[in-house]
Amino acid sequence: MILSVLSSFALVSGLMVVRAKNPVHSVLFFILVFCNTSGLLILLGLDFFAMIFLVVYIGAIAVLFLFVVMMFNIQIAEIHEEVLRYLPVSGIIGLIFWWEMFFILDNETIPLLPTHRNTTSLRYMVYAEKVQSWTNLETLGNLLYTHYFVWFLVSSLILLVAMIGAIVLTMHRTTRVKRQDIFRKNALDSRRIIMKEDGRDLSRREAYIYNEYISFGSPRVSGFETSGGALECSLD
């Protein structure tokens, strides 16, 4: 019963991805498809893969989809456009897909289907639980890092290429842009950084008082003589 509930929810959610008017609703139905598929994986006994679906697909991919889709400027008028003009090509693709499904479906459940391919029925053999009880994770690790390590490395290279592509697309030309570290500049030469309200720079006396405020919280001496030599040493 759980199988039928999960798979029907997955199918309906998949349909709603295409048919929802609001793109945000589309992506949320997409997430629902992954949730239901994760449940189906648990039914198949692949507990680790179900969790990986949740972490990777929902937790990373769908969240990033949502980040982008939520920033769209949805004009409701654009949504009610002609969908019938998609019918020829999408109809052909849909029919091809539907025809392929008949090669996979088990004949015993749907006896009324006019197919003659009895040799490709689905058999479910649970060998692993009979001989020795390995967890999913162990099985995956034993295969992925020993016999199929090349595929693992190739997939990591593909992800690296994707990452480099994202960086190249979004990087500014930092070598030619003049940036400044404002705090360092302030520490070195605060007179040029700070401007008074009427647009004048600070005089040396005001700069000295500013420096005192910064260092000690209040000017130590309220009235003092500005002799050139002393100030030049202090504004080092």
Partner: protein
Amino acid sequence: MIIDTTEVQTINSFSTSGFFKEVYGLIWIIPILTLILEITIGVLVIVWLEREISAAIQQRIGPEYAGPLGILQAIADGTKLLLKEDLLPSRGDIRLFSVGPSIAVISVLLSYLVIPFGYRLVLADLGIGVFLWIAISSIAPIGLLMSGYGSNNKYSFSGGLRAAAQSISYEIPLTLCVLSISLRLEIGRNDQVVHPYDSDLDSSTVDIVEAQSKYGFWGWNLWRQPIGFLVFLISSLAECERLPFDLPEAEEELVAGYQTEYSGIKYALFYLASYLNLLVSSLFVTVLYLGGWNFSIPYIPIPELFRINQMAGIFGMTIDIFITLAKAYLFLFISITTRWTLPRMRIDQLLNLGWKFLLPISLGNLLLTTSSQLVSL
């Protein structure tokens, strides 16, 4: 040829005989309801604790009018929020607005399935154990995004985006720390030939606690993975969105972020989700790093008296639950004190900390763990 025909029947049959097995499975509702009751009482206690500890830090008296010592303050807050008007934004997406807080709470509540309070006191001793918590806590950003988007408010939306970015950033160091623990670094296993079909290397929470039970205090994973402990502390505080990682709900910066437009029971759901998340994080810190339900004072024969009753006795189970909660209180105290001591971090500082600091450190921790296991330290 070993074909298990009963398995074939289960996959093929859509309607026969699966129904009655599921009706008998309803007996599980009793432990589930017990756990929910415990968790609710736990949240009430944490709310009271937070008020009292923050009052002590700020040198004032905490709640004192609702019940003796203000114990019923949380119930008073909850009742108030229950009776408030439920406002809906006029042009926001009402369905997303309503469903958002629920998803945040559901994802946190499901994580309680795998926490062991004692040897047999766990709802689901799964092989994937801790990984279930990580997987389900990855669904929480969806709820936050839905809440922020459905509020039809620029600041809520921005807060929701920031909250989701923060959540997904800190999931990765969290996962890597948990992974380092699941590698089960065994001290002194040099003489034993590790059987290649040894299948105790799963992420089951009960096994993780059992692996820390040998030397009492010194068997804690805290000593085996000190860097991992610090990274886990910081990451779990960030996942719970507690200060100093509070920016998505900040009052000064974002007018309560994605929670701005919420009132009444939906706001109470966010509040509840925050404290539930804190409780589940502290329980996971206990299970992963502080030795779970083990009575951790080594070389004292008192545990031996309890060992006789450990498997079945009610007294043993009560002691186990009590020890787990006492250890969880340590992390709760640390996080509440941190909240009322440290200033809030800016969003770019926060994300820098997650991606550029904690992620390389947790990767390095993983590398260190695996290489020291090779050397069989």
